[in-house]
């Protein structure tokens, strides 16, 4: 069960690096978060009780609210066309493949329990790929997707290393992710008003 989930997660993240359309990228993100919610649910069912709360919150916040808010924002943008740069996309896919290898090398170096080896490697892969998406993508919304991917990776790691953080901390983390997306959506919509685009490369006035 867990193995299939991990395979699908890696697939979803690799797909994320290929997508250039804003809407599809958000759908892909929702799919990835949905898989994370399933993983959460499995861990929750094993341990029972309060462990089900994070699964429910992941579903509500990361699968419903965040993609919904971003999609609403995309509806308001005036320039939906993606700036096509194939090279960039190919590079980030290659980088993602490399990160998968890095994940396994790291995990074998540390020497984790074989049961959770794949999951932890996948989460390292997600963190690094999310980071590379934030650096390599130009559009504000794509960078947001990268950020959520990275957050999901850290969450997955926490889920399998320590069975999640204490509940009160976990609730706080969810609250922060929620506020972060609200703040980023506000900034992006103002950006599209001021600059007539959400391409972050136009913002290069502040230097030195």
């Amino acid at each position: 069960m867990m193995n299939e989930l991990v395979i699908f997660l890696i697939l979803a993240v690799l797909l994320q690096t290929r997508i250039m359309d804003l809407r599809r990228s958000v759908y892909c993100l929702a799919f990835q978060s949905g898989l994370l919610a399933c993983a959460c649910l499995i861990v929750g069912l094993v341990h029972g009780g309060v462990h089900l709360v994070p699964a429910l919150l992941t579903l509500l916040i990361k699968v419903v609210f965040i993609p919904g808010a971003i999609l609403r924002l995309i509806g308001k943008l005036t320039d939906e066309r993606e700036i096509v740069s194939d090279i960039n996309v190919n590079y980030s896919t290659l980088a993602a493949a490399f990160f998968l290898v890095v994940g396994y090398v790291l995990i074998d170096g540390i020497g984790a329990a074989p049961a959770s080896r794949d999951v932890i490697a996948a989460s390292i892969f997600m963190i690094l790929t999310g980071l590379s998406l934030m650096v390599m993508r130009k559009r504000a919304i794509m960078q947001m997707c990268g950020l959520i991917t990275m957050e999901n990776g850290i969450y997955l790691l926490g889920l399998f290393v320590t069975e999640g953080l204490p509940l009160i901390v976990e609730l706080g983390v969810f609250l922060d992710v929620l506020i972060a997306v609200v703040v980023l959506v506000i900034l992006t919509s103002r950006m599209s008003l001021s600059f007539m685009t959400t391409d972050t490369t136009v913002m290069k006035k502040l230097k030195g």
Binding site: G172, D176, I179, L187, T200, L206
Partner: protein, 503 residues
């Protein structure tokens, strides 16, 4: 005294509830016109009085652990700094907001309905910082630090100009990545706790600090590295500092003062808590090299940027980086003297830097430009602003009348006492470079012949008094420290807590 009928717990609840209540009311538009400003002042002053009362009542060598709230000398020291800046903020905000009429940089006057929102966000920002220093648990601290980033990002972008949007975007992106690494570090720390101590009192730092020796060494080292990089980003240590000059220079002047004076040292406080926990397992050498290297690297990187700087608030931002670098290096010496000096430096730097950012905002309004190259002859066009600006600059550079002289002096003494005189000489040389750069710009602005029309003297009576008071308090705290009884005890005890693992 009147308030001594309350216990410390009640006072802390009060401190944590009042700003929140005010910001909710202000955001909902409950206060109209002048009442808003008075409610703002009343809130901050009451909170500061309550904190002062806590300082009076609190037995310095004890610790209060009540629910999720934890208070010892170190957190009380931070709370004291926060409350002083909070009062300074509330008594200067009206003058700042009403003066903000300039077409290029002003915004609020033309949209006076936004004042309520500005107050709401600012008080919420201070409230989250108070939460950082009062919670008992590394996980909740992480949550509070991330909340400060998000709320202050809205304040940085408050004017929604192109440059402020750019600064806010960079700020959120860089700091969130950094803070995510700190979350990774927190998870690893929790894993170390689970392996060594079990899940009881999860991530509670008092509990962890007591059993620091039992944590597995390898895991503790990785966790500390992640925590250092993560919170180091938020402090503004060198390779991860990209957000700091942008955010500090583009935010409204009041917010810049709070960012520089309070927020970055809150992140440093969290890092210190991690140091206290992990020191026995990780060992002094590893931490010392991290702190000293990145601290001095930060100073070294800030110096050239100050010398070639044209934007007045960016210059101040780089000066903040220099001071954070010095504090980090000071804690990295792991000497009681240096730790005490670094804690005192936090207070002095906060007070003087808030005054400086406020004055820089005033100068920007007076001359309708941020470019220091276009400002000359302030002493004849705006004498009072020029006088206090020069005084504060002299203060931040660490010259005798101001408190920073004493804290910097003790810090450097720490370098020479700690068996690393070479590093002390290096730090001195870097500080001298900083001094030349900043003094060159400041003297050019203050002296010379005026070339440009100015709006005249904009500094009013009330804000002059606040700025003068900030400078005086810093001077008194530095110079008369041994005579200040309780205050000195509090500081020594805070330094002892930081150095717990060494002795």
């Amino acid at each position: 005294m009147m308030e001594s009928m309350f216990s410390i717990q009640e006072l802390l609840d009060f401190v944590l509830l009042l700003p929140l209540a005010f910001s909710l009311l202000a955001a909902s538009g409950f206060f109209k016109g002048g009442i808003l400003h008075w409610a703002d002042r009343l809130t901050a002053t009451l909170v500061a009085l309550a904190v002062w009362q806590v300082v009076v009542l609190f037995p310095v060598d004890s610790a209060i652990h009540d629910g999720f709230i934890y208070l010892d000398a170190l957190s009380l020291w931070m709370l004291l700094i926060l409350s002083l800046l909070y009062v300074a903020f509330s008594w200067t905000s009206k003058a700042y907001l009403e003066r903000d009429t300039n077409i290029r940089y002003g915004y609020l006057r033309r949209f006076s309905h936004l004042e309520g929102r500005f107050y709401a966000l600012s008080h919420l920002f201070v409230w989250t910082m108070m939460l950082v220093v009062l919670v008992d648990n590394m996980g909740l601290m992480w949550v509070a630090i991330e909340a400060t980033t998000l709320i202050s990002a809205l304040l940085v972008a408050f004017k929604f100009t192109r440059t402020s949007l750019e600064a806010a975007w960079k700020y959120v992106m860089v700091c969130t990545v950094g803070i995510c690494l700190a979350l990774l570090g927190t998870i690893l720390l929790y894993d170390a706790q689970l392996q060594a101590l079990g899940s009881e009192l999860a991530l509670d730092f008092a509990h962890l600090a007591e059993h620091g020796k039992d944590l597995p060494e390898g895991l503790a080292k990785i966790a500390f590295a992640f925590l250092f990089v993560g919170y180091g980003t938020k402090i503004g240590l060198a390779p991860m500092h990209a957000w700091l000059p942008d955010a500090h220079s583009e935010a409204p002047a009041l917010t810049s003062g709070l960012l520089s004076g309070a927020l970055c040292i809150c992140a440093l406080y969290v890092l210190l808590r991690a140091v206290i926990i992990l020191l026995p397992a990780v060992g002094v050498d590893f931490m010392q090299s991290l702190f000293l290297f990145f601290g001095l690297f930060t100073i070294a990187l800030a110096v050239p940027f100050v010398v070639v700087q044209r934007d007045i608030k960016r210059m101040l931002a780089y000066s903040s980086m220099e001071n954070f670098g010095l504090m980090a290096a000071g804690f990295g010496l792991f000497l009681p003297l240096a730790a005490k000096a670094a804690l005192l430096h936090m207070l002095n730097h906060a007070l003087i830097k808030y005054a400086l950012f406020y004055l820089a905002g005033t100068i920007m309004e007076t001359y309708a430009t941020k470019n220091m190259m276009r400002i000359h002859g302030m002493i004849s066009q705006a004498p009072r602003t020029a006088f206090f600006f020069l005084l504060a600059i002299v203060g931040i550079l660490g010259m005798p009348p101001m408190g920073i002289f004493f804290s910097k002096f003790y810090l450097l003494q720490g370098f020479f006492m700690g068996g690393s005189p070479a590093l002390g000489v290096l730090a001195l040389a870097l500080l001298a470079g900083m001094l030349i750069g900043i003094l060159y710009h400041a003297l050019r602005m203050v002296g010379g012949k005026p070339h440009r029309k100015a709006a005249g003297e904009l500094l009013g009576r009330l804000d002059t008094a606040v700025v003068a008071l900030l400078l005086t308090v810093s001077g008194v705290c530095g110079a008369l420290l041994p005579e200040l009884g309780k205050f000195d005890q509090l500081l020594s005890e805070a330094a002892r807590i930081v150095m717990k693992g060494v002795a």
